[in-house]
Assembly symmetry: C2
Homo-oligomer: 348 residues x 2
Amino acid sequence: MRIERLQKYIFEKGLDAALIKRRENLFYFTGSSPVLGGYLVVTPDESVFLVPELEYEEANETSKVPVEKFKTSMELFDKLKSFKIENLGIEESASFGFVNSLREKVGVKNFESIDEIIREMRIIKTREEIDVIKAACKIADMAMMVAVEEISEGKREREIAAKMEYAMKINGAEKPAFDTIVASGWRSALPHGVASDKRIEKGDLVVIDEGALYKHYHSDITRTIVVGNPNPKQREIYEITLEAQKKAVEAAKPGMTAKGLDSVARSVIEEYGYGDYFIHSTGHGVGLEIHEWPRVSQQDDTELKPGMVITIEPGIYIPKFGGVRIEDTVLITENGAKRLTKTERELI
Amino acid sequence: MRIERLQKYIFEKGLDAALIKRRENLFYFTGSSPVLGGYLVVTPDESVFLVPELEYEEANETSKVPVEKFKTSMELFDKLKSFKIENLGIEESASFGFVNSLREKVGVKNFESIDEIIREMRIIKTREEIDVIKAACKIADMAMMVAVEEISEGKREREIAAKMEYAMKINGAEKPAFDTIVASGWRSALPHGVASDKRIEKGDLVVIDEGALYKHYHSDITRTIVVGNPNPKQREIYEITLEAQKKAVEAAKPGMTAKGLDSVARSVIEEYGYGDYFIHSTGHGVGLEIHEWPRVSQQDDTELKPGMVITIEPGIYIPKFGGVRIEDTVLITENGAKRLTKTERELI
């Protein structure tokens, strides 16, 4: 059980309690996600989920942890004070203002980060989590199909994105996992070219990067298409990117490091002389957040393990000319990586 | 100029510098909003916007403040260290982890909140800001028209929301200002009933609360409709809510407090005996954030001034029976409140 593992950690670290406030962590530990937020207090032997009065009924129905309500922030701080916490485990994202209030109004003396234990837990997905991520990936595949059907000369990037996001929502997504990228022509060389009013032109490379948020979990996929016939340079950078992506998907397996996986994709692109144009890391973990651990980059030594869900998304970006990125969300299994997004990867 | 006003504040408070990190504040002070974020350093006599290398070109084109790039977080902290900052003004939202890094790697000794000065500046909108908010409100009005046309027996709430959000995007919105609420039947009694898979039934009250994000600014509108003929109780709570909303819009003017405005709406609902069913505040400021200052609640004594943009959104929520909310985004002018969202308010 998740709470028990956190309690063990608190006990071992000599903390009086942990206080959790980030939406995705609240959902992870309680199964509940109040719109107005909440505060999960975990001590070595008890846990309570404090929520604003307006959220009480719903939280009480969905939370695996006992729920109590508060009316005002004064009441919240009084409740926290009753735990007599001197040493508190807290998320690194907790705000400066909130930490000050805990010091002044609750009497907390020392703060320690609990990010590492939460990261260690969340980085391995359970069967249930994987099923939800698969469903989110299926919605992303459907949205990609819409993009491929809709993209044509003269249409605005924004219009394509609007149709994709409509399809996501109709198919059960809460919303897009992030601002949908439809980046055409020169804009395809921008790694974050959120759909704009630019019209798609004949001969454009179009990078489409999208995902769905479904039952609190994310998916992430990128495809690149050419409007009309690709020219030799477009075809070249497409084939190199595809080779890098395929090799990395084939190579990914337990025991390898995230850094090592980044190197697999990067070395393909470097061998063809485009290393300077692959200006980001190969991927990132996906789950309750769109970007989470591990980072598939030269800075992350995390060992890949079964149950991790990551993206593999090499790209080549040539300023003014255009760019290519090919990305799948994959699951690390005992037998290697399994693609959860399944849209064809060949150039169309 | 915005930066100059902040510099004057820093100087008067005896701070060595202010460090700004929140996306909306970065946009407010620099005119630039890098996807990967950035760090604005302001001292009494200089300012520099530090952005990740990938964002340099775009930031350099859009920022009113000189831009410098950093490659790694080490380089970022080194650059910050060169300012020799002991007393730093910081946003209260700055994270515990970041503040620790500033203490350890930059040598900052004291942290002071700069939220108050930023709040004071942002609470009064300029002509240019008001024009953008008006455009965002116009998109919200269009989306509401789509909702009114689309809502009918048998359709799912999610489908209505998907069509509204499609219309927003096609009409220029970056995205919805928040998760679109389409709450029908018993769900209309939930103040935050984000569109679900529930099918709309004949006789349902349907609360539609939506807004658009347009060029970094938000809009916010709510209407409630009845599918078919309203019953007497539905009509009663609708008319009371409408009276409260209209009286508050008519009453809002410079010199009044936010609390006083809340009382205008609240007293109408209380007089009819529904005070216990109006379970939230009357409104909130709208701008670069969907919820900002002032809060139109019993807790906020802020004096209303020309240039403030707020919502006025009383509601009545009767558990199991259903709810009504009517909301406009309004601008405070010398001559009173001007509605920026213009959809009809009568029951349909």
